[in-house]
Symmetry: C3
Subunit: 453 residues, 3 copies
C-alpha cells in the first residue's frame, strides 16, 4: 500500500533555497527541493543556547493562528449526531454553529440571533423546510444564506433583506459533517482532507471525538513529532504485546529533509508526508555517569534482554508507516496499524481547547465489508488496540504542554532540539501556505457570504 | 380594576417633541406627550441596516448602569429571612450588606469591617441592642449610623468618632425588607415601588427569590418586551389550558406611543404603564417560500384548528392586562392573572447577576382573607400557575441573551426592530430620569451618610 | 523554659531612632533600641482618620512581597511525603518543584522540562541514580545542578552543557524537607528557622499541612496579631475547658516597644520575640449606650460570674508565652501549650494561597520519648487540643480578610489601630531586612545556579 501524492512537475524558484544552482537541484522533485529549503531556513531555530524570542521566529503566521486557520473545511460533527429533522450545536474555530438536517438537506448557520444574540439551540425551531426561527422574538432566517426571511410577530418589517446571520457551507463525507469556515468561495472538500481519504473504497470507523485542554497546534504537532515515541513504552498495547517502542524516529543529522516529502499540488491538499528512511531505531540509551560514577544504560522495558538486531528486524518486517500532515489541521498515518490508516483531525474549539476526531480507515472491496468495518470489526481491530491502548497516551502528552504555552509564555521560551526540525519546517510551510488565519475580530464582524444553494 | 396613575397637570416644554405646536398638543396629557416624544426620539434606533455603535445610542446613562441605579430603595430580602435577633447577609447593587433585626428594630450596615475588611457575617456578634462587633478584632459599630462606637480590646482608642462603616436606611413593607442604596436623604418608599403596591388592602404572596445569570437590564426588559410572548407557547400553563399565546403584543406602526402612558408625578414613582390598545393578536404567521417553493403557515400549537375570531374573543373576554414599569427596576402587571397583580423586582446583584423577587398581589377586604392569600391560597392560585407554569420560561429567556451582552459586545451589536420601540423609549426615559447611576468606584468610596434614627 | 536569643553586643547607629542621644540609649540592648525605633517610625500609620494610600506606607518591600521572599529556606513537604525512590511535586513561592529521594540522597528541581514545558511529575522517570528524564521527549537532566545530561533519542545533541532546568538546594530536618528558593549561595538552614528549632532534644510532631485561601502575609500576621485573641472565645478548647480568653494582648500606650525584642544576630534568624509584659488582661468591656440608653457590659462567655482577680491569677499561673516571628514566614510560640512550642510556617504557594505547616515541639531527653511524642503522645497532647480545638479558628480568621485584600484594594484601604503597632513594626523590619523579594518575572527567568554537590 503506497500513497500516491500528486506533485508539481516543475521546480519553481520559490521552492528552492537561496543560492541554489542548477547542479544542486538536478534530478530533484519539487517536494524534495521544498524540504531542503525548509530545513535550511529553520535549522538555526534548533539547538540554540538561548531560546529566541517569539518575534524573531520565522513562523509568525503560525504564532498568530491561536484560533486556527480560516477559509478551510473542518469536520464539525459525526453524521450520527444529526439525524433527519434534528439540530446540533457545536463551537469550532471560535465560531458558534448550529447544524440542521431537514428533508434530507444539510444546513449550518451561526447559533446566534441577529437581533439580540439568543442562541437558537436553546430551543431550536425549524418551522419551515429551510428556515430557523428564534424562539424568543420570532426572527426567522434562511438556513441557506442566513438572510432574514421574515419575523412572525412583525410581518411587514423593513429588515427583511437587510440583515441576517452567518451561513456556512456544509457537506457530508465518510460519516462526518464538514463545515467551511471562511468568507471566500470554498474549494472542493478534497483540497482540505488527506490524500486518499475520500476514495470510494476507503471505509471509515469513527471514534467519539475527544475534547482536549490543549491548543490545536500542540495537539497536531504531537501527531508527527519525531521525538515523541518514547511515551508509548508505557502504552498498554506495548506492555501487552511485548513489542517495544523506539525512543523516537529521529533522522540522521543533515538528512532531516529526506524524511519528508512536501505535497504541493495546487489542486489538492497541502502538507507533507514522512516515510522514515534514515532514522536509526533506538531501544536503549546511555546516561553518562558524573564525578566518576558509572554510566547507566536504560533500555525500553519491552526490549530488555532482546538482541538489537532482532528488534530492528521485527520493526522492518512491518509495512512502512507513512505520516501525512495536511492543512488545516489533520494527520493521516498510513499502515498504522498495518493495513489500516489512522486519521486525526485536531479541530480548534477556542484558543485552549481542541476537538480531536480520530478515525480508522481501511480499504474495503464490498459494501458489506465496509459496513462490518464501520461497526464491530473496526471497533475490535482498530479502535481498541490503536486508540484505547495506544493513542490515549498521546492525548495525555498533548495536554502536558498546555500550561507552559497558555500561561508561561511557552512560545517565547520553548527551546527546540534537532528532532524538532520537522516541526519547525512544518511551521514555516504553514506560514507560507495557510489561506488565512482565524482571529477574534473576524468572529464578531459582518456575516459571511452565505453558501450557494 | 384600574390603575389610578397620578399625572402632571401641565405639559412642560421638556415633555414635548422638538417643534411641537400648540395645535399638536391640544388635549394631550403630559403622559401622552412624553410617549410621543420618546417614540420620536428613538425611532431611528430600530430597523436600521447596520447596528449603530454603543457610543451613538441616545441612552448613554442606561448603558453605564451595569450595576443598576443609585439613590433608590430596593428589596433586599424577605421579612422571614430576618427573624427577631437574627442577621442576614446579602449582596445587592454591588454592595455587601448585613441586615439586623434587634429588639424589633431594623438595621442595615456594610458587611465589611473598617479595620481590615473582615465580613461581620462570618460570625455576627450583636453584643448590645444597637451595635455590631467584628469577631476578629472587636471593633464595634453603631448599627444606626455606622460610626465606630468602641473597640473592646482598646477602650481608649482615638478612632471613635473618626471612622466607621456604611449604614443604609432600611424599612419593611408587605413582607419585604427594603434598603436604600445611596448617599442622599431617601425619598418615601412609595416613590420607588409600583403604584398601588403599598395600598392597605393589597395582600402580597412572596415567592422565593431567583438568582439569574443575567444583567438586571436584560431581566427587566423581558418583563415588558412586546415581542417576547411567543416563548409562552411552550409554557406548561398554555399546554395544559389549551389557551394559546399570541406571537407578541406588537403595536401598529406609528401608534407605538399610544400603548404606553408615562408616569411623571414628581412625588411618586417614575415609569410607564402599557395597556394594549392597537395591537392585533397574531396566532399564525406565514413564512414565505423561496425559489418557487410554497409558503409555510405556522400556527401556535394551541391555536391549531380554532377560528381566529374565537381566539380573539377569548382574549378580549379577559380583563385588560396593564404592564407597569418603574424605576429603579420593577414591574407590576395588573390583571395577570385576572384579578391579581404580578410584581417582579429585577434587583442587580453584580454586573452579571440579578435577584428576581416575584410577588403575587390581590386586594383583600379582611385580614383573614389576606392571611389565606399569603399562604396556601396565593400558592395555589398565583404561584403555581403564574410562576411555575408560565414565568419560568421568562427566566430562561432572560438568561439566553447574557452571553451576547456579557462577552460578545452585545450593547454594540444588538440590532433592534420596531417592536423594541417600547424598550428604546424606556431606555431614553431612564437616561433622563434616573437619580444616579451605581458605579464600581462608588463601592469603595467613603462611607454613606447614615440613616437618621 | 526560656528562649536564648542571640543578640548583637553593640548598638549601631542604624539601630537607633533619629536624634537618639547617648543618654537615651544608656543600658539599652540593640534589640530594645530597634524596637523603639520601629515603633517610632510606624506610629503615624495607626489611628489615622483616613487610611493612607499604599504608596505612602513605610513598608514598600512588604507590599511588593505578594509571592513571598526570595533567597530563603522554606519547608516544602514532610519527610514522609517522599519515601526512598519516590518523587513529590509541590508549588511554593510561585515556583513549581519536584522533590526526589534516590539512593538516600535528596534532590529538588524545577518541575518543567527545558524543552517545551512538560511537567516531569506527570510521569516521573528517574532512570539513573541522579537524573530525571522527561517522559515526553527523553531530555535527561542532572538532579544536582539541573544541567542537561543527555537526550536519549538524540545522543549527540549539541545542547548538553548549554541548557538545563533550575535546581534547588534541599535538606532535611526534623521530619521536614527544606528547599532554598534563590540564586545565591544559601546560608545555613539555622538562619531561616526559629531559634531552638534544630536543637537535638527538640522533638517535632508534624500535622498535615493546610492550604489556606489567604495571602501568606495575612496568615503570618495573624500568628502575632495582638488584637486577635477575641476569636478564641468561640474555640472548642475554651468552651470545654472553661478557661476564658482575653480580648487581646494589647500593650499599654507608649510601651508597645517593650513587648518585643528584635533578633538581630547576623549569623542567625532575623525576627522578633514577644513576651507580654505591659498588657492588661481584658475579659470584659463596656459598649457605651447612645441617646441616653444604658451602657452594655460584655463579658467573655467563660468569664461570666468569675472575679477579675481570679481570672488574672489563673493566667499568671501559666508559664509565660513567648511569640517568635522569623523571616521568611514562620512563627514559634514557646509555652503554647505550657511546656511545648507550636511552630507555624506560612509558606506562600501563590499570591492568594498559603500552605501552613503547623508543628508541635517538645524537648525530649531520650529517643524513645521523642518517638512517642512524634506519634500518639504528640497527637493527644498537642494536635487535638492545640490545632483541632483552638488554632482552627485562626485558619478561619486568616481567610476572612482575603477578599478585602485580594479584590477590594485592602492594602490601600486598611485602617490600622494602635494594637496593630507590632504588625507595622514587623512590616518595616521586614522591609529593612528581607534578603530579596520573589516576583513573577523571577519565575520565568534563566535557571538558578544549581546546588553544589
Amino acid at each position: 500500500m503506497t500513497l500516491s501524492i500528486p506533485e508539481k512537475d516543475e521546480i519553481t524558484a520559490q521552492d528552492l533555497p537561496d543560492g541554489a544552482t542548477d547542479e544542486m537541484t538536478a534530478g530533484m522533485t519539487a517536494a524534495e527541493a521544498v524540504a531542503i529549503r525548509l530545513a535550511d531556513e529553520t535549522r538555526d531555530q534548533v539547538d540554540r543556547p538561548e531560546a529566541p524570542p517569539r518575534r524573531s521566529r520565522p513562523w509568525q503566521r503560525y504564532l498568530e493562528a491561536e484560533l486556527g486557520l480560516r477559509e478551510y473545511w473542518y469536520p464539525a460533527a459525526r453524521s450520527t449526531d444529526l439525524p433527519e429533522g434534528a439540530t446540533f450545536a457545536v463551537k469550532m474555530v471560535g465560531e458558534e454553529l448550529l447544524l440542521v438536517r431537514k428533508n434530507g438537506r444539510l444546513y449550518c448557520v451561526e447559533d446566534r440571533c441577529a437581533h439580540r444574540g439568543t442562541r437558537f439551540s436553546e430551543r431550536p425551531l425549524v418551522l419551515s423546510e429551510d428556515t430557523i426561527t428564534c424562539w424568543y422574538h420570532t426572527w426567522t432566517f434562511d438556513l441557506d444564506d442566513g438572510a432574514l426571511r421574515c419575523i412572525l410577530n412583525e410581518p411587514d418589517t423593513a429588515l427583511v433583506g437587510k440583515t441576517g446571520i452567518r451561513a456556512y457551507p456544509v457537506t457530508e463525507a465518510k460519516g462526518l459533517l464538514f463545515v467551511y469556515i471562511g468568507d471566500a468561495e470554498p474549494p472542493p472538500l478534497s483540497n482540505d482532507v488527506p490524500v486518499g481519504f475520500l476514495d470510494a473504497d476507503m471505509a471509515i470507523y469513527i471514534d467519539e471525538p475527544n475534547v482536549l485542554h490543549a491548543n490545536w497546534r500542540l495537539a497536531l504537532e504531537n501527531t508527527f513529532d519525531p521525538g515523541h515515541h518514547f511515551i508509548h513504552n508505557w502504552s498498554q498495547f506495548v506492555i501487552e504485546s511485548g513489542f517495544p517502542m523506539t525512543f523516537g524516529y529521529v533522522a540522521k543529522k543533515g538528512e532531516e529533509h529526506a524524511e519528508v516529502s512536501y505535497v504541493l499540488d495546487p489542486d489538492g491538499p497541502l502538507g507533507f508526508s514522512r516515510c522514515t528512511k534514515t532514522t536509526e531505531l533506538i531501544f536503549s540509551a546511555t546516561i553518562p555517569g558524573k564525578n566518576g560514577r558509572p554510566d547507566t544504560v536504560y533500555t525500553a522495558p519491552a526490549a530488555v534482554g532482546r538482541p538489537h538486531e532482532e528488534l530492528v528486524a521485527d520493526f522492518l518486517a512491518m509495512p512502512p508507516i507513512e505520516v501525512g500532515i495536511y492543512l488545516p489541521c489533520e494527520n493521516a498515518t498510513v499502515n498504522f496499524p498495518a493495513g489500516m490508516t489512522t486519521y486525526d483531525w485536531c479541530v480548534p474549539i477556542d484558543e485552549n481547547h481542541t476537538r480531536s476526531f480520530m478515525l480508522g480507515g481501511r480499504r474495503c472491496v464490498t459494501e458489506q465489508e465496509a459496513e462490518l468495518w464501520r461497526g464491530e470489526v473496526g471497533h475490535r481491530e482498530w479502535k481498541v488496540p490503536t486508540i484505547d491502548k495506544f493513542l490515549v497516551d498521546d492525548n495525555k502528552a498533548r495536554q502536558s504542554m498546555q500550561t507552559f504555552y497558555e500561561k508561561e509564555n511557552g512560545w517565547d521560551r520553548e527551546r527546540l532540539y534537532r528532532p524538532d526540525l520537522e516541526i519547525t519546517m512544518f511551521r514555516k510551510f504553514f506560514s507560507e501556505h495557510a489561506r488565512s488565519i482565524q482571529t477574534r475580530d473576524k468572529l464578531v464582524g459582518p456575516r459571511s457570504r452565505g453558501r450557494r444553494s
